[in-house]
Symmetry: C2
Subunit: 156 residues, 2 copies
Amino acid sequence: MPTSQPSASDSCVKPHKPSSLSVDLRSAVLQLARRIRQERSDEAITLSELAVLGVLSFHGAMTPGRLADHEQISPPSMTRTLAGLVAKGYVLKSGDPSDRRQVLIEITGAGAEVVKETRHRRTAWLSRRLAKLEPDQRAILADAVRIMGTLSGTHS
Amino acid sequence: MPTSQPSASDSCVKPHKPSSLSVDLRSAVLQLARRIRQERSDEAITLSELAVLGVLSFHGAMTPGRLADHEQISPPSMTRTLAGLVAKGYVLKSGDPSDRRQVLIEITGAGAEVVKETRHRRTAWLSRRLAKLEPDQRAILADAVRIMGTLSGTHS
DNA sequence: ATTGCTAATTAGCGTTGCTAACGATTAGCC
DNA sequence: GGCTAATCGTTAGCAACGCTAATTAGCAAT
């Protein structure tokens, strides 16, 4: 019922035919994500590292586990990303004295600097594209951003 | 507790503050893409393979080069994806007799079957989420899908 | 025939996700 | 106290999917 029951194969029609929102949304998001990744500058920081720095600068220090939850990736993936950040001096690891299994990750001054400097450079391409849209189209995207946020959420 | 004093920019306000649509859109798209990838069933076909099959079933046979253009990936990446599809018997390669540098990729019956069967199963998770939204939210997403399509477009 | 272009491939690398298995530490229970 | 859980982080190794550089094959034009 979500996308209605798309009786037929849905392929052979106009691209914007409301055949199936889930199929269309999926391919649009994957394609745009690919395009965004493609736009990598040759900076010495990766997308996932930058994302973690952003979370840390926004929410403050936290443990690797909570970071992994927040980014919705597995703990081992987070471990690797953090290793890169530690090597670059953008975060610090410190053991929690009360529970020595845990580790606290905090952003360094250099890390905060990188967040501030890199964010907009990294999105320069996208900003240029967005600037060419009509204002109401940007408004739609802004709404869509919020909705997509709830879609990726962990509930259910 | 946010450790630092988030001087100026940053995202420390409402998510929809027009501070930077590009930053917000980028992170929303990347996160949703990650979430979608996570939702991989244990099917014997990958996301990129399914995408190619979808293009072939929609637009008909074409060359690897045109497929790469369409998906906005490099020719070598397409070569690899096609190798997988050929191995699984979902597409056929045939040389163009008029220009023997070129190769024509066409979808097989098995491939078309897979497209029809897999699409909706693959998007089941997303469909469920979408079903819980308000109709007008789905409408916004449908609009956003079209706009994102122009964003990933090749011009400029 | 040589030169130059284009299409596709091969070879090899980087990023980013995963699962399984392993220490270290804490907590619960006898 | 001492044994067993459960928890947190990490290590090891794999898969997917993007790239560039270089190679091979075929075409075109001088």
